[in-house]
């Protein structure tokens, strides 16, 4: 029951983030580059909840974004699936308490996601890849995402541990000792 409520809550938070991204961050940009809150969100679901939830919610959110904006159906879904998995992989191997690891996780996830989506799109839609400009945009976006995650981390952590408790009752202590 608790798990179902948490999942519903996560979906509602996704909608909130969606409207925030569309209405606020479309004009609040660094050098014309928007951040991507969805990457941070899916990464943190993978980090705090479990692998299955991270992957499945990643796929669902990716599909919604593909349906609403995508030129092809699939790239975002595949890459959010990867980010969900990456979140749970990071959870097993790194500490969530340290700000430095969080910075590297968000930066890595943003870079991998955008690279994957760009490549998949270029394969499906067949267009020329412009790597230089791509890297320039990705670096600014990564920086923006990292800044946002540093600012938002205290809130994410508080909510995250509530979710963590609901999904990983047994192994929360044994992992560290």
């Amino acid at each position: 029951m608790r798990k179902i409520l948490t999942v519903l809550g996560l979906i509602i938070v996704f909608l909130l983030i969606y409207f925030f991204q569309v209405n606020f961050f479309s004009s609040f940009t660094i050098a014309g580059i928007k951040p991507n809150l969805f990457i941070i969100y899916v990464l943190f679901i993978g980090l705090f909840a479990n692998q299955v939830l991270g992957i499945s919610l990643g796929v669902i959110f990716g599909l919604i974004i593909d349906f609403l904006y995508g030129k092809a159906i699939g790239p975002s879904a595949v890459m959010f699936c990867v980010i969900g998995y990456l979140g749970s992989y990071f959870d097993k191997n790194f500490s969530k308490e340290n700000k430095m690891t969080i910075i590297f996780m968000v930066a890595g996830a943003t870079f991998i996601y955008e690279l994957g989506v760009y490549f998949l799109n270029s394969i499906i839609l067949v267009f020329e890849r412009e790597m230089l400009y791509f890297i320039k945009i990705v670096l600014i976006e990564t920086l923006y995402n990292v800044l946002l995650s540093i600012i938002l981390y205290p809130i994410i952590q508080k909510i995250g541990y509530v979710i963590d408790r609901n999904f990983k009752k047994n192994n929360i202590l044994t992992r560290y000792f």
Partner: protein, 271 residues
């Protein structure tokens, strides 16, 4: 320990199944999934419309003067009419030019003698930095179909890539995956205009014939080759010609006639 291994294997299997599904999904034609798209957009877009209304209200906060609203309404109608008239004017100019050069093919011009257009509002824009699509407030209900051409008051905007019952998705010409076959007004040389990641306000014109002489300020029109865009719609003007050591590699920067950052009303050509 054993259980952990089991869940790990299960997780692995689920991941593989999901990935296979996704590969399958990404290869399925988008049309066949339009009911899913309809569902997604019917959940999101009504709420999004409320936000758009709110934003419009905040932006037009002087509207509490009693007659302001009617003036704004009138203004809106006039703007729409103006854009329609401008397209008609442009089309008229094009026809005139065509007439003088192609007098012997008089019957051909009949095909483009009149564009019937459907007006639409932009209700949403892409959230990604690497692509630009627009969502419009018209759909199959209003007679919109895939591959219809979208124009604005000043020129070409793009074409429709998918339609739901109430909304449709437009791929804009500045999108990095978009290519438009076009020709230059003065010399009629054909070039290809591509969107680029370099800047979202320019197009890159490549495949310029080696014998062609480009002049800064030349107008660029759609050539009608390719089957999506009809002939003779303004794309923009040549802003800069970049010559490289090899003449076949040279390209030009084309400035689109439409300002895509401020676009809010468009017309869809109903062929």
């Amino acid at each position: 320990m054993n259980r952990n291994k089991q869940t790990e294997i299960l997780g692995g299997i689920i991941t593989v199944i999901v990935l296979i599904l996704l590969i399958f999904l990404s290869n399925v034609e988008v049309n066949k999934l339009s009911y899913l798209e309809s569902a997604a957009s019917s959940i999101i877009n009504p709420i999004q419309r409320v936000f758009i209304d709110l934003r419009n209200k905040i932006q037009g906060n002087s509207a509490y003067f009693s007659n302001m609203e009617t003036i704004m309404q009138e203004n809106e109608e006039l703007k729409k009419k103006n854009s329609e008239l401008e397209t008609i004017l442009r089309e008229f100019e094009m026809l005139k030019a065509e007439n003088t050069t192609l007098q012997e093919y008089m019957n051909l011009t009949d095909k483009y003698s009149s564009y019937q257009t459907i007006p639409a509002y932009v209700i949403n824009k892409d959230v990604s930095n690497f692509s630009s699509t627009l969502i419009l407030n018209v759909g199959t209900k209003d007679g919109i179909r895939e591959n219809m051409t979208v124009i604005a008051d000043k020129g070409l905007v793009g074409h429709i890539i998918s339609v739901t019952e109430n909304t449709c998705k437009v791929q804009v010409i500045i999108d990095s995956a978009s290519t438009v076959s076009s020709s230059i007004s003065t010399t009629n040389d054909s070039i290809i205009c591509k969107g680029t990641l370099e800047n979202d306000q320019i197009l890159r014109a490549s495949y310029i014939p080696t014998g062609a002489e480009l002049i800064q300020g030349d107008s660029v029109y759609t050539s009608g080759i390719g089957g999506i865009y009809p002939k003779g719609i303004v794309i923009g003007t040549v802003k800069e010609i970049i010559t490289t050591s090899n003449i076949t590699d040279r390209y030009a920067i084309v400035e689109p006639a439409v300002d895509f950052s401020k676009i809010d009303t468009v017309l869809i050509i109903n062929e």
